[in-house]
Subunit: 152 residues, 2 copies
Amino acid sequence: MKVDQVDTYEIVKKHFSDYLEKKKQRKTNERFAILKEIFAMDGHFDVETLYMKMRNSNYKVSKATLYNTIELMLECKLVSKLKFNENSNIYEKSYYFKQHDHVLVLETKEILEFCDPRIEEIKRSLEIQFNIRIFDHSLTFYANTIDQIKKK
Amino acid sequence: MKVDQVDTYEIVKKHFSDYLEKKKQRKTNERFAILKEIFAMDGHFDVETLYMKMRNSNYKVSKATLYNTIELMLECKLVSKLKFNENSNIYEKSYYFKQHDHVLVLETKEILEFCDPRIEEIKRSLEIQFNIRIFDHSLTFYANTIDQIKKK
DNA sequence: TTCATTGCAAAGCGTTTGCACGTTC
DNA sequence: GAACGTGCAAACGCTTTGCAATGAA
């Protein structure tokens, strides 16, 4: 099922709204404007880009508010934070995507996504081996295109 | 074979020395003092801790030099950078350890290490699927101890 | 002698904080 | 009308940079 952007926004808006209510947080225009902007972007984004986009939109917000709001979205899983390198945090909207991992292609700066069941198997082995309960993971592969290899 | 610290230092010193020569970089006392300090520490370290240790040692260096030197060690694989969270970069000496991944245990702040051949299998699958050449990866699991689960 | 490397302090950069003002409940 | 949320600018913490002095080759 392909869901267009308007529908997507309405659904995540309800999700966010419910979360705010549950946490007794206020439903401000800023928060919904940010949510809308994030879900209108495709793929991944960083705070600076989001900030610029909102400057140019009809609803300007400060960076403080952006960070505060993204924090709320992280809590309710509408957004997830990717830790590719320590100088630039990248986020992605996450509501409609099942859990996945990433491949960074260096030359093209592409972020490929994949989902491999063997991760889950490794997780189970580790839980038994160390007697722990794993609740999250982060896996990123770094790659070159074949073309790049040939050039070298 | 168990290698004691002195031997370890002599071997990595040669490795580092060779690398500096190859890259036409100077062999300064600071660089070797930092190498010695890192390989005398066990496990992982952050820049601040290393800086403090060196302050109290008989060879004081500036942070600028520390960062510069660590950069060189990253290049020649004597040290690797762990990206657990964006506020605190953690490094580990890496010459004698084969490639491995990490499990962070939240309550105890333990860093467990493991090595699982299934990662290599996933890597090969991705290379074929996306027609790319993967040269590195980063995998971290986040866990709680079973005790912690029970307390909740 | 030459010029890479160093130490120091200042600058950068992304993120957080403090406070007065504005808005939701 | 009582907080909570916001914008702004200043503070933060880690890392990098600029520059004069040092020292490896």
